[in-house]
Amino acid sequence: MAKQEPPPSPPSPTASFYDMSDDEEDDYNTIKHAKSGRGVKLLFSKSKVYVHPSPSSKDNIPGFIALIQQKSPAQTSANRPTSSSSSKTIASSSLLLAWVPESSLGDAYDTYVKVDLSDSDSPPKQKYLVPPPPTTTSHSSAVGTYAFAVPISEVFSLLVRPPSLGWWFGSVVINTRAGDSFPALFFHDSECQSTILQRKKLARESFDISSDGGGMFWGGDEVLRWLKRYVTVERSGVDNTVYLIEPSNADKVGFGGKPASPEPGQSVPEAPAGAAKSSAGGAPFPSRRDGGMDPVTKALKEARWNFLEKLSQVTTFTRRTAQAVAENPKMPPQMRRLMRNPEVQTIQEEFDSARLYLARWAMGIAEQSERERSQRIWTAKDVLEMEESEVGDFEILDMEVGNMSMADKRKPVMMDEWEKWFDMSGRLQITPDEVKDRIFHGGLDPEDGVRKEAWLFLLGVYEWNTSRDERQVKMNSLRDEYIRLKGAWWERTAEGHVTLEENEWWKEQKMRIEKDVHRTDRHIPLFAGEDIPHPDPDSPFAESGTNVHMEQMKDMLLTYNEYNKDLGYVQGMSDLLAPIYAVMQDDAVAFWAFVGFMERMERNFLRDQSGMRRQLLTLDHLVQLVDPKLYLHLQKAESTNFFFFFRMLLVWYKREFEWLDVLRLWECLWTDWLSSNFHLFIALAILEKHRNVIMDHLQHFDEVLKYVNELSNTIDLQSTLIRAESLFRRFQRMVEAIDKRSNFPAPSVRQRKPTPASPTESNANGASSGADAAPQPKRQSVGDAVAQGIGLEKQKIISPELRSLLSRKVEKLDKAELKEHGGGVT
């Protein structure tokens, strides 16, 4: 990892030359910039570093990141140190880390280019002076121009995110000691001459495959390298994307060094599992990114990265591109094979599928790299910093809520933690909200049986304020009731039904359930077997056989059909029952948990589909409000019916996530912690994640539908949950700001302080009352641009559908409504 380390000290001739001449401040004022009388010394610069002020790449602003030396106020040429054996004697307050847009440079542009291209191993032999950029210590004072120059002494840390296998640009975010963050700087390495040259050079020099050479080198590495010449840069052991600048001892204790002992499931700063063990385990700077990777994996990754970088430059996938790519000898064989695959070849010829295919594939690789990354626990910061937040600045959720860190909160609740929440009599000692908060963020342990217990609360089978004995009594009567209900239809199968019509309906429903259960989650071992003979010789499955769990499923669904005759069994319900049964493995208990779930899901299954229509409409409003550009694109693609989310909304992503993720997602949604319709924010999060691909590649309804359908089993849950939470906060604040504006026409003031309770405006509108309103944890925000951004939302209005999203109260159908629209037998 040579280039992460400070450059080797003497005896390198370059280093000694550098030490002796370059940082001497003699002749400081000999070369003056033409226009300004005063100049600052440009030590390093790098070109094609962009600010992305809006979702559109058209708005990207190219500029230079630069390291600048100004005369220290306390230091004159008279009393400067004469023998600077180390460059670090330059006071960090006299060094500025700056970003300047190309367009603002005027004559100085050439100087910036020259410094950028000068051999970076030794700083420029000549002193280059440029006009001083405006010095700032906080982002807000630089709003408007984006340009900034911050004294290094004011920099607390850098958030460094390397390019992600060709999908994201590498980026650096500067955090100041005052707690402010500057806009992310994105390194467009493929446009940057100096980076290209440095890459080539590194590739030539690094024969040793174990060194970090060639392909993965990027502009941000250079920045760290310059900085390390002048100041102490220490990588945080807590979060390996954070580099602390001149950390104090207290900082080191708080953020630096290595985590004491990583517990299972805790942040692991090393390479993904499956990679070779890192040799740098005990080093103060843990090996970076791919340090722990074996050479083959690494080579493959790098090739893939280069390849994708090329690919991402073509907007339309032509046959020629594919051919060229396939012929490239550098291409890993796997990739070459893929490109020659007849299926792929056919697809290239097909005008509509080509775009779709490219989109899917590019995204697939991005997803894969994300999965590799997600070997560790995600924090909000990880997700939001990793993704170029295309809908504008995301809000970073508070890292410290109550007395539990966010990282701790995102760990699953284990049985012993759960049990500690109850007193001797089995009564909850903490508030239900505290429990929900925990489960919303961390989920429940999948293995230790805590779900069996906790789900019954989440699904309303048990009241939160009951004692163990009370729950026992309740369960006993529920068991009796289940047996009674089951007996009722059982008897009638023997004796026949009252009316012919009812008889028909009944037979049909039984058939439907039979067919669906045999098509539900058969890949789960519990439901896979066909080890017992089918009890009904007339069943189409009589020959293949069945198993006891499928039979239980059928009984429960028929009992539900009996229990809720207004609706009856509708396709999709078997998908909702299977996970509950698999967790409970007790038919009576599972049945009542399912009944609880169905109370909120009933609206999805109405004969007239009014519940589904309403949710799709709400999603329509939500996208329109939060991401109008994407909305416009979907409109052009005739996709604003949002039908492509139908399946996800109907059975709550059951078909999109893997089994264990579904369990985790559902328990999160059952908490209603932020919104009883949080599932719509999951939809929004999925859409936002893919919005670039959709906007770049998909132009018709069928393409969008196909693309979204095929996301099935590729979506990373944890990052989706975090993105959804962030989008919810953003939405919430937009609504607040819009309400505020319509109530008081006064200019909106940026609010940076924690909001202790939900403001009353939203309550005044009736959709959410005190207890239902989503809690608002204190927060910090990057750039706080959400509040600013909504300055543009003047014309926006909040529909009743949108407002209902702020409520935590589950909307349930009343009996009359259900009778009218249910489409059951009654």
Partner: protein, 205 residues
């Protein structure tokens, strides 16, 4: 992009839940049958390139959920269809009885230019199941198809891959004929304008 005209044929497959729509489509496109396809929720499609009399065409086969109530939202993609396939299960009379209402519903929602001549194809599926279970005879099905103006009829098995190729060949032929007969309306431009924001006639859906 090929300079010659690309033909996209849009085919809608309808029929009661569980008759085997998804299975048939997968048998035709992917040449396999799996007993564990899930019940269809929402809609999806598969595409397949086929030669019809030396013409290379792309078939887009749309699969929807069978339970009636789910149709109401899905009608959006009936429009622009070139052929409609009605599937029933030969071992389930009810699924045969509903064919007529599937047909009517389609004609209302898709509102083709000339409903009288719009091509349908009927498939009686699951003929692999033992004879004793069969409840709809070939004769009965043929009579129905004749009465509806001579709809082509095939008896198929998605499971055993019986008659599936043949049926879809006819479907493709019917769809292509329909497509050509409505060609003047230029349902599809010569090439898809990739850079130009598409206007309403660029989308077949």
């Amino acid at each position: 992009m090929a300079s010659r005209k690309k033909v996209l044929l849009k085919v809608i497959i309808l029929g009661d839940s569980g008759v085997g729509k998804t299975s048939l489509m997968n048998q035709y496109v992917n040449k396999k049958f799996s007993a564990s396809y899930k019940a269809t929720i929402g809609a999806d499609f598969l595409t397949k390139e086929v030669l019809v009399d030396d013409r290379l065409v792309t078939m887009q086969l749309w699969d929807t959920a069978g339970q009636e109530r789910f149709q109401s939202l899905g009608v959006a993609f009936y429009r622009g269809a070139d052929c409609c396939v009605l599937v029933y299960d030969v071992n389930n009379s009810k699924s045969f009885d509903t064919l007529d209402s599937w047909r009517d519903e389609f004609l209302i929602q898709a509102s083709p230019m000339d409903p009288e001549s719009f091509p349908f194809v009927v498939l009686g599926n699951k003929i692999d199941v033992e004879e004793g279970r069969r409840t709809v005879s070939t004769k009965k099905a043929n009579t129905f198809c004749q009465a509806k103006g001579g709809i082509p009829y095939f008896e198929t098995s998605a499971k055993e891959a019986i008659n599936v190729e043949q049926a879809f060949e006819t479907i493709a032929r019917q769809a292509l004929a329909q497509e050509e007969s409505t060609d003047f309306n230029s349902e599809f431009p010569e090439t898809i304008p990739i850079d130009i924001p598409n206007d309403s006639n660029g989308c077949s859906c």
